[in-house]
């Protein structure tokens, strides 16, 4: 029986192992240590949800608290990356991209191209995504499509502890800028994770469940919802195949198209907003490249085109649910 740890421990372990392996790996962000300059304990928080806890004790000055100045410290991580470091920078919530986006999309993403292939910017920006915490409209978004839109960035969205560790180690070793999105509701998820270091390549989707009737493409927290829906549907005799792309840039189009070739039907579940989101993007890709494979219209299960609400009643309505996924699958299967 393999060892089981939490998603957030898998992230911590990936950071720990990479810091031990490569002295160029440094970490910076708001309260990633916690307590700097204060009269109490150091490593007081280890990140707002404790994900980086303990690293300060092992690596000292290589993990740094910052002022609440996202432009400055995200930019500093990017600048340090161009000068030979491998910074892992924490943008606490993806919602905060608005105060530092220039450094990410106009600077980091473009250096390689603008400078004629001479720049190397191996920076990782770790950031929390997702609704479900009653954290309201400015701490709950799933804005990864915005990053996916930008040439020059890679975008990673793990859905399990195993993937989180392997993808984060890959992200740190990768020479391009990587946006690493951690769904905050997954931190407490337990799963089998090898103790040794390993990488998962980008652009390789995970076939989470094999099936023959309908393909469900899902990301992050939506993967477990899709699994729940698939279990229920199996009892009705509907066989679902679940594909987790794991990275939206690069996107493993082939695995999605191969699955649709077998099933003829596609449901995409995405927690990002419906307009110009991943569901729309994957839907367009399959419509263009796999039109002849489809036996029914593609179904998108997404939140409505609204901000994330605060009230639990409303937020639960907002987030795609297993029931909504089941309904979409049935609609797909029932199409004549």
């Amino acid at each position: 029986m393999a060892r089981k740890i939490l998603f957030q421990q898998a992230i911590n372990e990936a950071l720990d192992q990479e810091m031990a392996r490569d002295p160029a790996v440094i970490i910076m962000g708001e309260d990633v240590v916690g307590g700097t300059g204060a009269d109490g304990e150091m490593d007081a928080w280890g990140g707002v949800l404790g994900v980086t806890k303990g690293l300060y004790g092992k690596y000292g000055d290589r993990i740094m608290d910052t002022p609440i100045s996202e432009s400055a410290f995200v930019g500093a991580a990017i600048g340090a990356a161009t000068c030979g470091m491998r910074p892992v920078c924490e943008l606490m919530f993806i919602d905060f991209l608005g105060v530092c986006f220039d450094q990410i999309y106009n600077q980091a993403a473009k250096f390689r191209y603008m400078f004629g292939g001479k720049a190397r910017t191996p920076v990782v920006i770790r950031t929390m995504i997702g609704a479900g915490f009653r954290a309201a409209a400015q701490h709950s978004q799933s804005l990864y499509p915005i990053f996916t839109h930008i040439p020059g960035l890679k975008v990673v969205i793990p859905s399990s502890p195993y993937d989180a560790k392997g993808l984060l180690i890959q992200a740190i070793r990768d020479d391009d800028p990587v946006i690493f999105c951690e769904h905050k509701a997954l931190y407490a998820m337990e799963g089998e994770v090898p103790e040794e270091s390993y990488t998962i390549p980008f652009g390789e989707a995970n076939i989470v469940r094999e099936g023959k009737d309908v393909t469900i493409v899902a990301l992050a927290r939506m993967v477990s919802y899709a699994q729940k829906a698939a279990e229920a549907l199996a009892k009705e005799g509907i066989s679902c195949e679940i594909i987790d792309p794991r990275t939206t840039s690069p996107l493993d189009e082939d695995t999605i198209l191969e699955s649709v070739e077998n099933t003829g039907r596609l449901v995409i579940v995405d927690e990002s907003s419906p307009r110009c989101g991943m569901a729309a993007d994957i839907s367009a890709m399959v419509a263009q490249k796999g039109f002849d494979l489809l036996e029914a219209p593609i179904q998108m299960v997404t939140p409505p085109h609204t901000p994330v609400p605060f009230s639990g009643v409303l937020e639960d309505l907002y987030i795609p649910s297993a029931e909504k996924i089941e309904a979409a699958v049935r609609k797909c299967v029932e199409y004549a």
Binding site: S71, G75, A76, T82, N106, R112
Partner: protein, 324 residues
């Protein structure tokens, strides 16, 4: 007090300033003739700043520049012919024609890039300075920015972060009096940009940017302080641009004859020539020889740039990622 600049240093400083001037005056002419695509922002008139700063630096030190970046590139040692070809959008350019005037970068010489975003450079410089600090290589990093970027939040955040982390970073505010067509007398609410240093707990000084020696000396102190591990400084360099915000700017927001008067009375190259021929053992003939060499270099750069091949269609898709 500084070790005095040697004859060689002074000749080198003059060569850099003259190269910038000749380069920019020529780009002005060539732009009008046609063949240079896009936006071009000229640095002519501000040479003493770039040279005064960069004469204190080594290849290990880093600079981040602005949209008005040609002078910083040349002063930091970026190869001039590659720059000219880049401005013409050619495949032989510093960035293979994919960056252009506003994105010339040469990481080998420590030039982290001109920047099309006002205030884009200071955060990056914090990172370059952090890398130097962590590698303990004694390096420093310089953020050039204008009076326009002096009002950007990124600049404030970066100065604060550099002070909080005690980084070997120096913020060089090149105040040429205009952010595009808006006067610094209006937009910089505190008057002198350098006074803002106090708000970030770092030394701040304003120097005459028409005087190479003033810039060099202020920067020498700031660089030495940074190398000693004592943290960042802000140096405001007050200077004037000889041209508009960009090529094609009619400059009707400037008083008539403003540029003419500046050229006649405050030209940093004339001031440098006067001083070194008077106070140092350098003759006008030696400086004239530099002028001739520089003129030849720029002639060749333009000729070669015009004759150079365009990028290949396949180049459109290369170098987006290292591996994808």
């Amino acid at each position: 007090m500084a070790a005095a600049l040697s004859r060689e240093d002074l000749l080198e400083a003059y060569r850099r300033m003259k190269t910038i001037r000749e380069f920019e005056e020529r780009v002005h002419v060539e732009f009008a003739k046609g063949g240079i695509p896009g936006f071009v922002h000229l640095y002519a008139g501000e040479e003493a700043s770039a040279a005064g700063v960069c004469m204190n630096l080594t290849d290990e030190d880093k600079i981040a520049s602005t949209h008005r970046g040609h002078g910083h590139c040349i002063a930091k040692g970026v190869e001039v012919k590659g720059m000219m070809a880049e401005i013409f959008g050619k495949r032989t350019g510093t960035c293979h024609g994919k960056g252009g005037s506003m994105h010339i970068a040469d990481l080998d010489t420590g030039m982290l890039g001109a920047n099309g975003i006002v205030g884009g450079g200071p955060p990056l410089v914090c990172g370059a300075a952090l890398a130097a600090k962590m590698k303990r290589n004694g390096g420093v990093a310089i953020a050039f920015f204008g009076d326009g970027a002096s009002n950007q939040g990124t600049t404030f955040e970066s100065m604060n972060l550099a002070a909080a982390w005690k980084l070997p970073a120096i913020f060089v505010a090149e105040n040429n009096g205009y952010a595009e067509a808006t006067s610094a007398k209006f937009s910089v609410a505190c008057g002198d940009v350098s006074t803002r240093a106090a708000g970030f707990g770092m030394p701040g000084v304003t120097v005459d940017g028409h005087d190479f020696f003033a810039v060099h000396e202020a920067m020498r102190e700031a660089v030495e302080r940074a190398r000693r591990g004592e943290g960042p400084s802000l140096v405001e360099v007050k200077l004037d641009r000889f041209y508009g915000h960009f090529e094609g700017d009619n400059q009707n927001y400037r008083p008539q004859d403003e540029v003419k008067n500046i050229r006649a009375t405050k030209d940093c190259l004339n001031r440098f020539r006067d001083r070194v021929t008077r106070e140092h053992d350098i003759s006008a003939n030696e400086l004239d020889a530099v002028d001739a060499e520089v003129a030849r270099l720029i002639d060749e750069a333009v000729e070669e740039a015009r004759a150079a091949p365009d990028p290949q269609p396949a180049d459109l898709l290369t170098d987006v990622y290292i591996k994808y």
